[in-house]
Symmetry: C2
Subunit: 404 residues, 2 copies
């Protein structure tokens, strides 16, 4: 593909107008929306209204004017992107906290089943939290096995299969329907972490028969840095599972001020403490941006953007560790390179922001809502130039000094 062809693709792109819904900095090609989505134009006005009018002028009265229902309202707006029902999703806390809630609850379903089964190399917080959750249930344990051994490792002791749908490093995607069926056949529940899927990959939690899911709001959903996370519980499980983080916001009557905990009906029981309303408002602006956007169009564009960068990598002889078959991957592309850190830093110096994932991965995110084919074509050109420069010989780029 050359520049003219990329521009022709942009001219025919049904999502082309969506880019205007974002405030993107000049001179930057941003291939890190899978880590932190950029700022939607609607977010700042929403925060200004929240700050000056709702908080500043209305003060405590705003709790009765939309704040208290924010977790359910945002959940209902998010549900279509998950292929879930509006009353199966709620927004709040962090992905880590939500994982903890659901894992402890799942471990308690069948006392004879004591294992959380997961994939070694899963996103660290999933495994770390699974360790913590296992420690909170008698006999609980975490068993993490290599990806290829997960299905065979399902056994009568498996309480819950915890998988991240799209892998944060490789972008490998699990077959959600098949793995859910395998877990169910083994008598286990399944909990999907959708952090690297939602907003990029079409999802059908209902159609796959999934039990539980969590995910984060600050990647492809553009909810802002550290945006609240979400939590999905299939309707059939909602009254059978209990939230171990049994705080007042999940109480049946939070302002009844009773000493004893009584869980709210439905999804509300999965709330814990008072949510940040500023964070909710920013996330809601990110969710409202999806109005009228067809998930299938988003995914088709992701696949087209991938092909541009995969071809650029091939021309450079880079080791692409992301599957070529679209059905087997998410919406980023990763290259393994012994000097991935220096490459990522040298690219940033050229205005191309991707990221480095230790120890040797250069990861480039392909968010279809705001990237053009031309952006990605230019990214391929920049990548070629930087690889040829061998930036790992330059201490400006090779010395590790960043925390993320």
């Amino acid at each position: 593909m050359d520049l003219a062809q990329a521009r022709a693709r942009d001219a025919a792109d049904p999502l082309a107008s969506i880019r205007d819904r974002f405030q993107l900095p000049d001179g930057i090609i941003y291939l890190d929306g899978n880590s932190l989505g950029p700022l939607p134009r609607a977010t700042a006005p929403a925060l200004e209204d929240l700050t000056h009018r709702q908080w500043g002028e209305r003060l405590i009265r705003s709790w009765n004017e939309g704040w208290i229902d924010a977790p359910q309202r945002l959940g209902a707006k998010l549900a279509p992107l998950l292929g879930a029902r509006a009353d199966e999703v709620i927004v709040g806390d962090s992905t880590s906290a939500n994982l903890f809630k659901l894992l402890v609850a799942a471990l308690r379903v069948h006392p004879a089943r004591t294992t959380i089964l997961s994939e070694s190399g899963n996103f660290p917080t999933d495994l770390h939290i699974a360790e913590g959750a296992a420690g909170c249930v008698t006999g609980g344990r975490l068993r993490a096995v290599p990806r290829a051994e997960v299905t065979a490792a399902l056994d009568p002791d498996t309480a819950v299969l915890l998988l991240t749908h799209v892998h944060y490093k490789t972008a490998e995607r699990w077959d959600m329907a098949a793995l859910t069926a395998a877990a169910h056949e083994a008598g286990a529940l399944v909990l999907w972490d959708l952090s690297h899927s939602v907003g990029a990959v079409p999802l059908d939690l209902t159609g796959c028969g999934a039990d539980l899911a969590v995910g984060c709001g600050y990647k492809y959903l553009n909810g802002g840095p550290g945006a609240p996370a979400f939590l999905y519980v299939a309707e059939r499980w909602q009254e059978r599972l209990a939230n171990p983080l049994s705080g007042w916001m999940g109480h049946a009557e939070p302002f009844g001020f009773a000493d004893a905990y009584a869980p709210a009906p439905g999804m509300k029981r999965w709330l814990t403490g008072t949510p940040s309303i500023l964070a909710m408002a920013a996330f809601e602006a990110g969710l409202d941006l999806w109005t009228g956007i067809e998930p299938a169009a988003v995914w088709a564009k992701s696949a087209a953007l991938f092909d541009i960068l995969a071809a650029a990598g091939d021309r450079l002889g880079l080791d692409c560790i992301t599957p070529r078959d679209p059905i087997l991957r998410g919406s980023h592309i990763s290259f393994r390179h012994p000097h991935a850190y220096a490459l990522s830093q040298a690219l940033i110096a050229q205005g191309l922001i991707g990221d480095f994932r230790a120890p040797d991965i250069l990861r480039l995110g392909l968010a279809p809502l705001y990237l053009t084919h031309e952006d990605v074509w230019r990214a391929g050109e920049l990548l070629a130039g930087v690889v040829r420069q061998e930036p790992w010989t330059d201490p400006r780029f090779s010395e590790r000094h960043l925390v993320t």
Copy 2:
């Protein structure tokens, strides 16, 4: 006291200039800052910078430019208000989640001690979370006894004494030094919930020998609706306690991406997931506002404001359930009244915002940073007028329709 005397007090008030640091709505006397603090003037510019520049322009790079250290930085700014060391406090999650972390950790200190001891009628989430935490430790249980029986109920099975320093309804204040000593004498740890204390009542966690504490950022600290909470662990406990919500942000090397959890040294291990940076920025503006403010002056003014409203209540024959002795109370005043709900609604209609706490409490908060003596004197006059109107005979005020 008459209006002239109230104005004379304001003229001599060393905190008078602090009111200008807040954006307060015209025509409102706000006596609910103990539920949601008002908007500091510095908050909106801080959020604008965060949104447009840090998120919009700098994007993911901002994690390396101040975001990743926000929990510790805010903790260090808050520490002086707690009488704690800068490296003993961290900000993040909700009060409920932080209670859970510390209660589970405390229950695991001495396996032979299995009881969380607390006060019946404590703020509900404290008891609800204590139930949840007890369920996560073998043999764990919650025992809640009436206030007068707490000290006597400390026994060899008490793992941790969980008390809210200032009671959310009555404003009764525990003697922190005495109760901490009693818990220690019984071999138990103590966990203080400071939600209704910090920013109003002088605190000395170090001087009292306190072990653990939590509290909320959205009351007297003016951190915004649902602001992040804080968590204190005395230095001597930091390496001996483990966080059950063992997420990646508390890992020794969060971007090392190791499968096994290894807690960070110091307070950082008490973090869990990615914090909302918007919420952190607003809270930080609320904390920065305290620069140059003397906690003793704040408390002296609180006591003076209380006297004005207590006298107004006495003239009306209201049943004040808040202790008259300043050392025994926090910074709000509560009246028990069979028609407290209607009173609170009728007061709001007159521009005086306080709140109702079920079933029969009218609660009026006295935040010394932005209230004048004249405000509180006028509040007493409004209260007198409303009580004489008998608003419970008016369906506009007597029908319960609000969630908070």
